[in-house]
């Protein structure tokens, strides 16, 4: 694990959508799908991103422009440097015996499940986005089931609606999901109802990334080190899941 930020050179950038870019850099560390790294822009800030591509000594992060820091990241050009440390956290557990699974990504949550999808043969990928231009990785995963809120492409409706239909038809042994917490919560409920195992990756505000500052709490679980991926059993003991989160200043807010 890299403890202090290590500067790496961005050697390629892909524009995934108007608001999402993927940055590639050299990375020789360990990595399990679902883990994240802290990305540092000196004198600016440092925030968490999942590794969304990994291939040999190259890794990538896929970044949605959301606020100040991600806007700054989007100005970075090939050859610029960023600092990285990590990887941190507990990733997704792979299914046993290549059992059938379904992987659900909502919005930029696709970044978190992308490497997981790369590693599975017998899986269905569902991607949800608000509208067609926001759909990600359509060349990377050719067989995705796509949903848009506005019906501009694919299934009209939420990923949860589609997942409900598909779980009726297939015998999924496990559901993986990353995306807005309301979506995750509904998937968790669905899985409980249908007695399917599930693992979801949760987002909370991250500062240290290694379990000391207490910023990323969700019901006594530290997202950064006990998570970000939790299974159904753990989620069942986390009443704050889907309900409340802690802001940067430590205030508890509802979803």
């Amino acid at each position: 694990m890299i403890e202090q930020p290590k500067m790496v050179k961005i050697y390629d950038i892909i524009d995934e959508t108007p608001n999402v870019k993927t940055f590639f850099f050299e990375y020789a560390g360990q990595y399990e799908p679902g883990q994240f790294i802290m990305v540092w822009v000196p004198l600016n800030d440092e925030k968490p991103f999942t590794i969304s591509y990994i291939d040999g000594n190259v890794a990538g992060i896929t970044v949605l422009k959301r606020g100040e820091f991600t806007k700054t990241l989007h100005t970075k050009k090939k050859g610029d440097q960023i600092g990285i440390r990590g990887p941190y956290g507990m990733g997704y557990g792979l299914p046993e015996n290549n059992a059938a699974t379904c992987i659900v990504g909502g919005g930029i949550g696709m970044a978190s499940i992308a490497c997981l999808a790369d590693m599975q043969k017998n899986t269905t990928i569902i991607q949800g986005a608000r509208t067609m231009p926001e759909l990600l990785f359509q060349h990377r995963f050719r067989e995705m089931k796509l949903c848009t809120d506005d019906g501009s492409f694919g299934y009209r409706g939420t990923t949860v609606d589609l997942l409900r239909e598909l779980t009726g038809q297939h015998n999924y042994k496990k559901i993986y999901a990353c995306g807005p917490e309301k979506m995750l919560y509904k998937i968790f409920e669905l899985c409980n109802e249908r007695h399917i195992d599930c693992e979801v990756s949760i987002e909370r505000y991250i500062k240290c990334g290694f379990g000391i500052c207490g910023q990323c709490d969700c019901s006594g679980q530290r997202i950064c080190i006990d998570g970000p991926v939790f299974n159904a059993e753990a989620l069942g003991k986390m009443p704050d899941f889907g309900k409340t989160a802690i802001t940067k200043s430590g205030r508890r807010v509802s979803f």
Partner: protein, 306 residues
């Protein structure tokens, strides 16, 4: 063989063991306090609370290095009103909970102390010693005997729960500050806060790593300094000391207690040995006591002075 016990009485608080979660580590929510209590801590301290909410410094706010850790979180906290709601029904935690209150002026301290007074905190800790947050602690002159006396005295008049004043290892006159706190009515001293500040520069980018550029140094780097501070303070005051700084093993805890601490705070150890550092330290202390013929942990307090 008689039973070995780690339990202590600390200013009317009963602790099943002398390990205390230090302020600013995992103390952001009630649920994390509970988790730490379940991980074996004898008492827990909340992250410091100010009158108004604060976002703190930019990230990185905490980094590790070969000999410890640097932090400049910048006192992010939701402010006293939100904190009052977060930290309610504290008896559910199962161990004594210590409030940590901060302010930029004496009135702030009073307002925060009063705001939290109905929450069931077992004690109040007043850190006058943060080395990296403008407006607070050392950066606002609170680390002098005079300011220590004033702030402690003001809070003393508003509360009956035990008060611990948390002091800095960076001041030349550490014993006069401890004495000022005692004179003003503090029931205990917490020694020490993080030292420095220090700086780590990333040489490839040529920039300081911490968002605030500098931050307090904790962990192994701090331990010998903290042990000396506790040793000095023990000779200067009669009130008990919570010794904090670089403790991550039972041997470290015993060393700190021999220097004069009645209890030990643990912060960076949560990183180096995991959240169960509290039960690990306790098990190691017990083992050592058995091997060395001690029955009660009190017997160790201050013995390095004999």
């Amino acid at each position: 063989m008689t039973e070995v016990t780690l339990s202590i009485n600390l200013c009317s608080m009963r602790l099943s063991n002398p390990t205390v979660l230090a302020s600013g580590i995992l103390g952001t929510t009630k649920t994390l306090l509970k988790r730490v209590a379940e991980s074996g801590a004898g008492a827990v301290t909340i992250k410091s609370v100010s009158k108004d909410s604060r976002e703190g410094h930019h990230n990185p706010t905490v980094i590790t290095y070969e000999a410890g850790m640097l932090n400049a979180v910048g006192y992010s906290n939701p402010g006293v009103e939100a904190a009052r709601i977060e930290y309610s029904n504290l008896n559910e935690i199962g161990v004594p909970v210590i409030a940590s209150i901060i302010g930029t002026c004496t009135d702030d301290f009073i307002e925060v102390a009063e705001g939290l007074s109905a929450s069931g905190f077992s004690a109040i800790e007043i850190p006058l010693s943060c080395p990296h947050t403008p407006g607070f602690g050392l950066l606002s002159g609170q680390g002098t005997p005079k300011a220590t006396y004033e702030i402690t005295y003001a809070v003393r008049r508003k509360t009956n729960v035990p008060i611990f004043v948390k002091i800095s290892p960076n001041v030349p006159e550490i014993t006069s500050i401890a004495k000022a706190a005692e004179d003003a009515g503090a029931n205990g001293i917490t020694a020490v806060n993080s030292m420095g500040p220090g700086m780590v520069i990333n040489i490839e980018s040529k920039k300081p790593v911490l968002g605030f550029k500098v931050g307090g140094v904790t962990g192994d780097a701090l331990r010998p300094i903290a042990v000396r501070c506790v040793y000095d303070v023990y000779q200067a005051v009669k009130i008990p000391i919570i010794g904090v700084g670089g403790i991550s093993t039972g041997r470290h805890a015993i060393e700190m207690m021999m220097a004069g601490a009645s209890a030990v705070g643990i912060g960076t150890g949560v990183y180096t040995r995991g959240i169960n550092v509290f039960s690990k330290v306790c098990a190691e202390m017990k083992q050592w006591m058995i091997e060395n013929g001690y029955n009660t942990i009190n017997e160790l307090v201050g013995v390095a002075h004999d």
